[in-house]
Structures are given as structure tokens and as C-alpha cells.
């Protein structure tokens, strides 16, 4: 059966995350952002850090500020790279691109990342593909009109919908699906509902990059199946015009 391709998909953000077993030093992470190919495209940087505050008897508390990594963004803010000591993520924001094109971009960035750490062999432990959709609510439409995951109650007061569902999916290798549905608002779209689908796949042969990226490609079918099962025919028509 041919997959349905919507003319106007409601995707607002796509996140690919690669987790690995090794823990890199923060100093090592810095080399990636200085690669000319990366620094010329991703001109904005937002460092990530957190503070640990420790009590000391008879003295003022001490704060250690720890650098965790960074978030890089291109000028229009449509491509982001998040680099942490144990994971690497590529975001595509508010701009649709074909899944295969995005996976190829992710693979290229991943290879550049490995080169920046002197090709230290990293063992990929998990990959995830997350699609965040925003389905606009027209006048008199409720979440139940737009999605097949129902949030009805017998009570009279209005319920602000937030639903989180998780379940295993029988893929090879097996994966875990997390679906979040929440009321939201986006400038330009107005009120609507967030349909956030995350498919996580633990990887056992994580040193095989080719195979790992084949698994990522296979996640496409899973997330498509989940998405089209979640939306009603009303939503299908709305985004296929």
C-alpha cells in the first residue's frame, strides 16, 4: 500500500537524537562547532550549563557551574544541532524536508562529529525520531474532532487536554513509542492541539554506523503508521488541500 503524503503536513519540528554509551569531555565537544563547515552554517550558539549548589558547614554554599554542551542554530533558525556529552541531536524546525533528506543530513553531521573527536569509536545505544505536529482548531472544533485519541469526560467543566501514552512497538529491533497530546497556541495558526510522536529504538550493535542509520530509516514507517492512526478523516482532509 502506498504511503499517504499530505500536501500540507502539520509538522512543526522534527528531532533526530543519537545516544551513545561513552561520556565525552566538554573540551572535546568544542571541536565540532569549530569545523568550518559547521561554524559557517550554524552561526548562533547557546551554551548549556547547570549549577550544583553544595552546603558547607559554617560557610556560604558553594556553586559549581558545569558546562554540559551547546545548542547550535543556523541564521533562519530552521536547523539546530544539540551536542551533549552523551547524545547528539538534529532538529528541523518550521520547514518541511523529506525524511530521507533529513536522515542523510543527520548522517553527514554525525560523521563530521566523529571526525572532530579524532574518530573515537562511539557505541550508539539508542536512536529516536520525534515528529511534533500542530493541528489547528477551527471554530467549534474540539480535540476529539481532530484526533482519534479521545479525551472525553462526563464532567461539565472544560478540561485542558494533556495526554501522554507510551507503549512498545513490535519492530525489529523493538522500539518504544511515546505520544503526547496537549492543547497549544502558535502565532499564525492560533489555537490547536500538539500531536507529539516519539519513536525510540535501543541499538545493540551500535558500532555499525551503516546499520544504525538503516534502523533510523525504518522508524519512518512506524511514525507514519502512528500518525495516520492518530488523526481523524477531518484532519486528513484539512492538511491534504
Amino acid at each position: 500500500m502506498q504511503p499517504i503524503i499530505l500536501k500540507n503536513p502539520p509538522i512543526k519540528e522534527i528531532i533526530f537524537t543519537v545516544s551513545f554509551n561513552e561520556t565525552l569531555n566538554v573540551d572535546v565537544l568544542g571541536k565540532f562547532k569549530n569545523i568550518p563547515k559547521i561554524s559557517s552554517k550554524f552561526k548562533k550558539e547557546r551554551p548549556r550549563f547547570h549549577a550544583n549548589i553544595t552546603e558547607r558547614k559554617g560557610k556560604n554554599p558553594h556553586a559549581d557551574v558545569l558546562n554540559e554542551g551547546y545548542l547550535l542554530s543556523d541564521e533562519p533558525g530552521t536547523s539546530l544541532l544539540q551536542v551533549l556529552r552523551g547524545s547528539f541531536a538534529f532538529h528541523k524546525v518550521k520547514e518541511y524536508e523529506e525524511f530521507d533528506v533529513l536522515v542523510k543530513q543527520l548522517q553527514d553531521y554525525w560523521i563530521d562529529f566523529l571526525k572532530s573527536i579524532d574518530n573515537k569509536p562511539l557505541t550508539i545505544s539508542e536512536v529516536s525520531v520525534r515528529y511534533l505536529n500542530f493541528i489547528r482548531k477551527d471554530i467549534d472544533e474540539s480535540t476529539n474532532d481532530l484526533l482519534n485519541i479521545k479525551t472525553e469526560t462526563p464532567f461539565s467543566h472544560p478540561v485542558k487536554g494533556f495526554v501522554n501514552i507510551s507503549f512498545p512497538y513490535a519492530s525489529i529491533p523493538p522500539s518504544d513509542v511515546n505520544i503526547t497530546i496537549a492543547d497549544g497556541f502558535i502565532e499564525g495558526d492560533g489555537d490547536g492541539v500538539i500531536l507529539d510522536i516519539n519513536v525510540r529504538m535501543p541499538i545493540s550493535d551500535g558500532k555499525n554506523i551503516t546499520k544504525t542509520f538503516q534502523y533510523i530509516s525504518e522508524i519512518r514507517n512506524i511514525k507514519n503508521e502512528i500518525f495516520f492512526n492518530c488523526i481523524t478523516s477531518k484532519t486528513l482532509i484539512k492538511y491534504n488541500q
Binding site: K12, I15, N52, H91, K160, F162, I194, P202
Partner: protein, 168 residues
Amino acid sequence: MYHFKNFNQIQPMNISFDHVIRKEQALQSNVFRDEYQKYLDDSSLYSFTTFQFDDIQGMLDSILLKCKTLTSFQKDTLNKLFIQFDNIRQSIDPNRLKKFDFHFNNEDELLLYRNTENGLTNIIIDNEDLISYSFIPKKDENSNSRTLLFYDAEGDFESLAYKFFANN
């Protein structure tokens, strides 16, 4: 005549980081972070399922509440371990935080353990001054990876935390 249970022999209980991981993932979104944050900030919003996730401190508190006779050394050690668990959440990758069980035995030792298809991983905190880490592989061909290490109060808790969540 009734035989009362030895109340030191608490049934094994487990800690799952699923909610912590989902909260981190929710806030990873560049587009919807603020929308999700509203749900976290205001639990009075009427919602079908309230967006209340456990945090690392809450998990530590749940162990302390269940194991009421822990010594200062055991509490201090747990605190140091959970600081490292939080560092893993924030700095490294929240997906590394795997479910574990804990048990307070008749010898007043606190056991944290993970039983996976690869083997059994233990952290044993005695009531005075010793922490031991062990990994016992399930498959004979991995017997070289059998590990036993000892730590004291000044030990490297960062590497201990990494070891505890390795060997999936």
C-alpha cells in the same frame, strides 16, 4: 500466635526514571518548550492527565521515606549518587537513566541493583563506611567482565554512577 514480619526486611522496590526522561524530552522541543513548560508550571490547569513528573530529588526522597533506619553514611552516599544521576540527566543523556530496584537487608545494608539480560549490577552501601560495586555477567563467555570494586566516602561517584547504568 502471630508471627510478625521482620520490618527491616522491606520488600524490593523499584525506581523508574521514565517520567524524568519524558520531561526532559518534552522540554527538548525548540517550538513547544514554552507550551509544555506552562503545564509544568501550573498544575491547577484542568487537564486530563496532569503533567506532573517525578524529579530526581523526589526519587531520592522516596527511598529515604521507605528505608527509615539508614545511617548518616548511607544517606550521604545516596545523596552523592543522586547528584551524579542528576548530572547524567542534565549533562550527558537522560536516556542513560535506567530503572533500578532497591532493598534494605537484615544486615542493615542498602542494596541498589539492576537485573538485566546482560547480568546483575549491584551497589551495596554498608552502614558504616564501605560501598561496593559488582557486576556479574549472565553469559559465561562474558566472565572476564565480572567486576568487584570498593569505594569510600571520598570515592569517584561520577564513575560509579556511569558503571551502575552501563551493561544494559
